[in-house]
Amino acid sequence: MYSFRYHKAGSTQEAQELHASSGEATYLAGGMTLIPTLKQRLANVDDVIDLAGIESLKGVMTSGTSIKVGGMARHNEVAADSTIEALVYLASGIGDPQVRNRGTLGGSIANNDPAADYPAAVLGLNGTVHTSDRTIPADEFFTGLFETALNDGEVVTAVEFPMPSRAAYVKFPNPASRYAVVGVMVSETNGNVRVAVTGAETCVFRVTAMEDALSADFSSGSISGISIDSSNFNSDIHASAEYRAHLVGVMAQRAVSQIS
């Protein structure tokens, strides 16, 4: 690891001030991606700002119509406390138990790894991302490979998920890393259907053809014939673009079957 200065922020404001005064800073949430990257000397920053001391970012709060997951809520807390079953399932399938004891929702979506699970939850459940500065709808949050709408220094404080009438997440894990080769979140909330796919492209995306078909007929049969354009799909030693496209169909149908 290269040298850096470690700071533990007590508030979001303090974190942002530290960030602003640094040459180059990074926030430390769960650290599950950041610390291995630092260890490999693939990142060289001046300041690491730990968000774990900020009370307002913690916890999972449920109201009648939504649940609000703090940016620093650990995956295992979401798995234990969420009232959205699809979110419970998703959170309890991230990484491994040790990762789930450390990893956070905010860290995951701010990083926006193309194979991470949480982006599928935020986009597929139409979550609203609350930040230190504003709120960002899910559809505007994930903008590309490891890119989000967050400005430099902006902190994810929470994500609010509207309570779906039904939702399911099905993932085909990478056998080695257990990231998603393909993960599909299907939900229906107030009559609106969403199908979000992670792992397949460089960034999570929605499959509108499936959403339209499911809106008309919420059954796995209604999407079984939908072909997926794989021209922009990821292809690596674990799965070709073609296989990923096939998996999107299978995972989506399985998700729908669970809840129809």
Binding site: M1, Q40, R41, F172, P175, A176, S177, I237, H238, A239, S240, Y243, H246, L247, V250
Partner: protein, 782 residues
Amino acid sequence: MATETGIGASVRRTEDARFITGTGRYTDDINVPNQTYCVFVRSTHARATIKSIDTSGALSTPGVVAAFVGADLAKDEIGDLPCGWLVKSKDGSDMVAPPHPPIATERVNYVGEPYALVIGETVKAAKDGAEAIVAEFDMQNPVLDVASATQSEQIHESVPSNRSYDWELGDKAATDAAFENAAHVTSLDIVNNRLIPNAIEPRAALGSYDAASETYTLHTTSQNPHLERLVLAAFVNIAPEAKLHVISPDVGGGFGSKIFVYAEETAVIWASAKVGRPVKWTADRVESFLSDAHGRDHVTHAELALSEEGDFLGLRVKTTANMGAYLSTFASSVPTYLYGTLMAGQYKTPAIYVEVQAVFTNTAPVDAYRGAGRPEATYVVERLVETAARELNTDVADLRRRNFIRPEDFPYETPVALTYDTGNYAASLDKALDYADYAGFAARKAQSEAEGKKRGLGFSCYIEACGLAPSQVALSLGAGVGLFESAEVRVDVTGSVTVMTGAHSHGQGHETTFAQLVSDKLGIPFENVSVVHGDTRRSDYGLGTYGSRSIAVGGSAISTATDKIIAKATKIAAHMLETNEDKVSFDDGIFTIPDSNESLSFGEVAFSAYVPGNFPLDELEPGLSEKAFYDPANFTYPAGTHICEVEIDSETGTTSIVSFVAVDDFGNVINPMIVEGQVHGGLAQGIGQALLEHGIYDADGQLVSGSYMDYTMPRADDLPDFVVDTTSTPCTHNPLGVKGCGEAGAIGATAAVMNAITDALGIKELPMPATSETVWRAIQGG
């Protein structure tokens, strides 16, 4: 002595006490005063000429103590890393071994090859220094494809066609004739995928030079400390053996990859004298992936000739084996004497001909990995046999049974140079069939199909040759060292016993098994036996642990030394009991004169040996300590049947192992619990090869499966509960009747899994690993 701790008892392991409390002592746990830290600078290019290396940036980095390049070692006449087994080609010529300097001097030939080292006050300083080294390379296109390597650009100046050797075994004419007369020929094209060993403890070395005594001490993660010392003395020219002290403390798994003598410990021990301070290196996992010798990596065409009735008539095998960029310590022996010789399997195939060419590519060196040649051979034979049975519409078990070497045929001389001493293959097959509920398979398959899934069953009736090795056989075939094992059994004054062995334990549980053996033979409490290994200054000599040799060779040496103890102690007891030696019997730790009341305990005799008041000093030396060097008369031949049942998700291609049965014949077993554990671990690696593991280089020679993000290590939920049992035909030629058990799981399992998957899919061939996509594509019809 049939006791709770004697031979045959599942004694809980002694060594666990330190491992479960975190007090084991592995190489990286050892620190010595004034030590420095070494970081290797490794090639990121697969094939390149080194134009220049500028270490000045490193030397001016704060905390850097020294920086060296290959030329610095060459200046000190540090020798090349040798390959210890000379294989001859068909035409009688010697294999070609290119020069292998520990630190590259003129060229780099694989990604990860070290070309410089930096020594720092801290790891961080050394890493900073390493980054400040500026090297210029002239890159060339790497040679990566095994099958076309001989037609590719020449990698080493001294190796035309990139071929180390072109070897053969067996009778070509007789085999060709057998194929001409065959009613049926089954043929397969097989790729045996490259594996990366992945002992969980990364390799490490700590070298120290003591100027006062001119002695070097090397702590290192070796399966084989005496061999390490021998090579460092005789080939690398560090110092005479007597001035080299090699210690392998607790070692966190080896699986073959820690037998070899590598660049890193060579450089570290050399550098310790250079900088006048101890030098420590511990691999990162990425370094382990890049630089531990890899395993397998064969391309093979194989054919089996059968008669109308299903008798095996002949077997023809043509293999190209990937050696990687250099010949690692035992690399040349793996695809030849540990591979071709196993092609008879459990069968009476009368004519066999095997050709193997070993080629160089711009990849990490390939050497022995758990099973070493025997898994590859088993894979060829057992895939062929199963495929033949399917092609002939014969029951796969029946076809095997028909061709088995029968108990009355032993000793059985195969057409490929081995003489099997004993076995009962049908016994293992029958037992395995019972466990696997073979009769119920059709119903289970129907059930799966009703659920839209595919189900298959696969067999593997493997044999292996282990207990390496009869020295004169090995030496005549090109081995560079004798392969016997040493032992010393030292009885202490108070009757406790210290056993020194040249075998090395890195998970095998020798401290328990060997103590059981000695306590049983001497009739003394198990707790009173202490086993010492892994230290060249404490054991006379040794060849370490590999090739499932520890109990068969090392244990036999201990048994022989213990017999010598009993012989001398009996003489002492006779003197003390005032009778003749032949009147004294020894049983359960007591010397008695039968039909008398007179007896002495082992402890009393031991005491007398060291406090020789009543002792035949005119006939015997005082003390009670004996040595033995045991050279095995033959290999031992563990064999067994593995049966795997799989279920496949037709939509995704994902394979689940629903049951795995292994019935193995290891002859006599000292500790069944430990033996079963060895089988479990081997099975996991064999299944890992079939389903998950693959060392992949991309088109530029970059290792893209270079971390656990991409190299699929078997996890707990990838594997089933195993059903493991044994049959027994005791080995006929060693004093314990034991065979080896360490590799059997890895040797047998892979073929069983792939036979099961191809059965489920109704196809002939499928590349390994059978990943979900690979299987899905097969289901799609290509």
